[in-house]
Symmetry: C2
DNA sequence: CCGAATCGAGACATATATGTCTCATGCGAG
DNA sequence: CTCGCATGAGACATATATGTCTCGATTCGG
């Protein structure tokens, strides 16, 4: 197999992340232009908008998975893993957030990916509860939401120029665990 | 002036909040249908999509302002005010969140409203810092982001059926101030 | 060098969203 | 009751997004 095909698909996906991050309603022509490919070429690889969105979701999930696995490889506890994972996810948050505002895809692979991600995160949080990191009286569902949304808050802070990714991740973790009190 | 005109505009705005909350890319026809008015009637009151979005933004800002002012009328401290404001804002978050993903409007009224909101919140947080509620070493910009995003997290928790609005607001405030540690 | 595959550009048809217009209807004011 | 006004329904034109197709250029393997 030539690598040109793979490269083209990669360019399109990368361009789609950039364009849709800035404007979720952008046209496929905008994506093709950003990717530096013809509009027809985009359609050669993705049958349409839905198909592209599904590919973006699966790509994003894989990127996330890889980044988290790599970051948590040497972690001894679930608590450390969650903190390291937060640091790993934050720089990737921008490209993935627009997907959450997308009308829910009916594709079974997409729904399964989301379910797996949430389930795994909830599991790790439950384990971290057992390690004494989180109050057992606080619902795990809430901590999941807090984890995800504080990552988004961190990314927003980075975009605003008010922190580096590392600083933002540290603030997010501190807030989730100890809050912002003195 | 008859009240029918006002009522129609109100219905359209209300419908737009509902429709765009679920699908930011919905058509104006969808909005008109949800509002129970003709498509032409919508165009009689709003020149187009942009005009409608601006009206939604200003309406949302006014709703927020009213709710917060009412909730904080009897508060003695800035800290109490922030907590009461969080409780007041959370139930309204759903209708406003989609506006933040909208491509930034160039309308001066919109940009000014956003600037004022953020400035006021930052001011209150600075005052609450002086009251000892927040660590002065934590950037105010971060606390602003945390405040806003934990509200969103709370709303998401409510939508998921995992908490009541009151519970979610309490969890958000607790997390922002003390975190989720035991 | 030759052939196959892929690509960019662009023409073309279609679908949807948008904006404007007309006309008949309903409802309240006078 | 009659008039006037806002409305609903729908026709109409336009713009944009989308999906398909063709053709010539480029690139890589043989």
């Amino acid at each position: 197999m030539r690598d040109r095909g793979v490269s083209t698909v990669g360019h399109i996906l990368e361009a789609a992340f950039e364009v849709f991050s800035q404007n979720p309603g952008a046209s496929l022509a905008d994506v093709a232009k950003q990717a530096g490919v013809g509009r027809a070429t985009l359609h050669r690889h993705f049958s349409g908008r839905d198909d592209l969105m599904i590919a973006l979701t699966l790509t994003a999930a894989k990127e996330l998975d890889t980044a988290v696995e790599e970051a948590t490889a040497n972690c001894q506890t679930y608590t450390e893993g969650l903190e390291a994972g937060l640091h790993a996810i934050l720089p990737l948050a921008a490209r993935h957030m627009f997907l959450s505002t997308e009308p829910a895809s009916q594709d079974p692979r997409v729904t399964e990916v989301y379910a797996t991600q949430t389930r795994d995160l909830a599991h790790d949080i439950d384990m971290a509860k057992a390690e004494g990191t989180f109050d057992p009286h606080v619902p795990t569902e809430w901590i999941v939401q807090g984890y995800e949304n504080l990552i988004y808050a961190g990314w927003a802070t980075v975009v605003a120029g008010d922190a580096t990714p590392k600083q933002a991740a540290a603030l997010a973790w501190r807030t989730l665990t100890r809050g912002t009190c003195p």
